[in-house]
Symmetry: C2
Subunit: 203 residues, 2 copies
């Protein structure tokens, strides 16, 4: 049983086009072995296309959400959701997902799209702050480490789009990353959020 690393989870999400939870579960079931986890996902029909990441994802759509207050638009969000084929890009479900994510972003205002996009400096500063606080409370070193690991997960869940819980659980109960991953598995294509823009009055 080898260790399950964030790097492997990310790679599996990308190459198999699955959500974070599915990638994590497959890696756990496969005892941490990347290739075995990938094979498991394929068996389960979740990763329908091997080497999917090698195919180009140059199609897509722009989802949007405009928030109106006092009779005028005061906040707007644009989301580029990319896929591989015109067929998927035109589908209602794909376009609806793009608009849903735009609506989500208007509320959750993430700093980064995925963990890979997180600014190294910001991550380091956050880890340091958590460690300093824990140390000041007199926690021993190994406990401090575990506290940092745990609290950084919450920090990701606050600041990273793919790690945020989708704002409307009645429509989708899970993270935005899982939502995108499940759509990718269903459509059998690489699907990802490529760009997000959020413009608010006075921001």
């Amino acid at each position: 049983m080898s260790e399950i690393t964030a790097k492997d989870i990310q790679r599996l999400r990308k190459e198999a086009g699955v959500g974070m939870m599915d990638a994590k579960k497959a890696l756990t079931d496969a005892g941490g072995d990347f290739d075995a986890a990938f094979a498991l996902l394929r068996e389960r029909g979740q990763a329908q296309v091997a080497k999917r990441a090698d195919r180009e994802a140059s199609e897509g759509t722009v989802g949007s959400y405009i928030h109106v207050q006092n009779d005028r638009p005061v906040l707007g969000v644009l989301v580029e959701l990319s896929c591989e084929t015109d067929f998927v890009a035109k589908s209602d479900e794909f376009r609806q997902t793009a608009d849903d994510i735009a609506m989500h972003v208007s509320w959750a205002s993430p700093e980064w799209l995925t963990r890979e996009d997180v600014d190294e400096e910001a991550l380091g500063a956050e880890k340091e702050m958590i460690a300093r606080q824990a140390a000041a409370e007199g926690k021993p070193e190994d406990v401090v480490e575990r506290i940092v690991t745990g609290k950084i997960e919450s920090w990701y869940a606050e600041n990273v789009l793919y790690d945020q819980k989708f704002v409307n659980p009645e429509r989708y109960d899970g993270t935005v990353g899982d939502m995108v991953g499940e759509l990718a598995a269903k459509m059998g294509e690489n699907i990802s959020v490529r760009q997000v823009a959020r413009v608010a009055v006075g921001a």
Copy 2:
């Protein structure tokens, strides 16, 4: 007759809330004297509010434009247009202008909002390139300088939103900066484009 500088034009546009052409004309008419030019604009009713720039412009709206191709949105633009009062922010003309600018940006794709926002390095590189080309053509030094000054104006007109000719001359025949400046003069408030976001599939 003192020299008319870009800095004075910018300052006049900002403090009097007028467009570039009006600012330039007033400075020319005033022999390059800033205060005299400001007074002229006030006499002409173009700069209706002295020290307008001192008032806070924290109201506004978000204009948007979504371009649909092959049955799906493939390009979106958001524009924050700011003003001083709720009254102006809610007006049809103000909101229409915000949407018009968003439509303009979808076509013209400016790099910067105003000349003040232009990246110094990009500007320097462009000037150097123009000067090198002119020198290679054997132009004397003073001519090279004039060529650089002239061609940089066209470069601004291509890359800077406020210097770009508005895309639909039937609606407004002039630059976006003039359009915003005229609206500001008409409304008697500081009005400016504060943020622009442009998201396109595959860009």
